[in-house]
Symmetry: C2
Subunit: 131 residues, 2 copies
DNA sequence: TCATGAACAGTAACCATTACCAATAAACAA
DNA sequence: TTGTTTATTGGTAATGGTTACTGTTCATGA
């Protein structure tokens, strides 16, 4: 990971990052907690939250702020797009990114537009089979 | 508003809808509460939440689920796009919608993609002048 | 005008997240 | 290797947005 002055590579931070990179499920903080606890049973939930924030800030992981009551995290920082299940909130990766059109002309009164992205919505298989 | 069987047009629901239509600020539930309380001082916050959900479900208003800790609401249901200030969460309208590219070919393993939209991020003037 | 039950006000509960603090352990110098 | 510094931890309490509950009220159709 990107080492910065005054940040220490703790075992907890290391394991969180590893677990997140080993998985494609875009887990919530709570789910990360469950994963990490299998290797570090005494880790606290606060530590997980703190490290997820730090890792997102340093750019080692992605924090998916898109809709839903819980935030989700992604160990894959290469550019790609996401679908979110409108029923359960689960997030998946879109295979071939749809090209974002030129947004340089976009204007919004009272705002400076910095970026834009495409957000997909849909239904995951688990939810689809329930209906 | 779209009248449905077994839903009653209460004064509270009416005022919430009116206030939301009179404003372009995409308020949070709490801000709607503040606005409505000037006309109905005894309304409860729970009533505001309940009606915002019902109005969104009936399509009379928009619930902006996009990132941020608080949900925001929009009385303008004609198709348009939004910018969100990454610092304060404020939401603004994009003037001329950027055309969403064809997403019919988008694939995501384990998901059925139903829709896509462009989300803008930026900084609002209030936050920009603070820096 | 009356009867019915959807919706209300007020309040408690919920849940994801953040803050706090004494104890621990990375990182670096000696 | 040992000691010092202080970022980070575990455990827990607090926060804040939202939802659920309950007895009361009032919109609606007969």
């Amino acid at each position: 990971m990107t080492q910065q002055q005054q940040t220490r590579m703790t075992k907890q931070r290391m394991v969180i990052l590893e677990e997140l990179r080993n998985v494609h499920s875009h887990p919530t903080a709570d789910e990360v907690y469950g994963m990490v606890r299998q290797r570090l049973p005494r880790i606290s939930l606060g530590t997980v939250y703190r490290n997820l924030d730090l890792l997102a800030e340093s750019g080692d992981i992605l924090k998916l702020e898109s809709a839903g009551s819980q935030k989700r995290f992604d160990g894959n920082v290469t550019p790609h797009q996401h679908v979110r299940c409108t029923q359960c909130g689960r997030v998946g990766d879109v295979m071939d990114p749809v090209l974002l059109p030129d947004i340089s002309g976009a204007r919004a009164p009272g705002f400076i537009i910095l970026s834009g992205r495409i957000e997909f919505e849909g239904v995951c298989e688990a939810c689809a089979s329930k209906n």
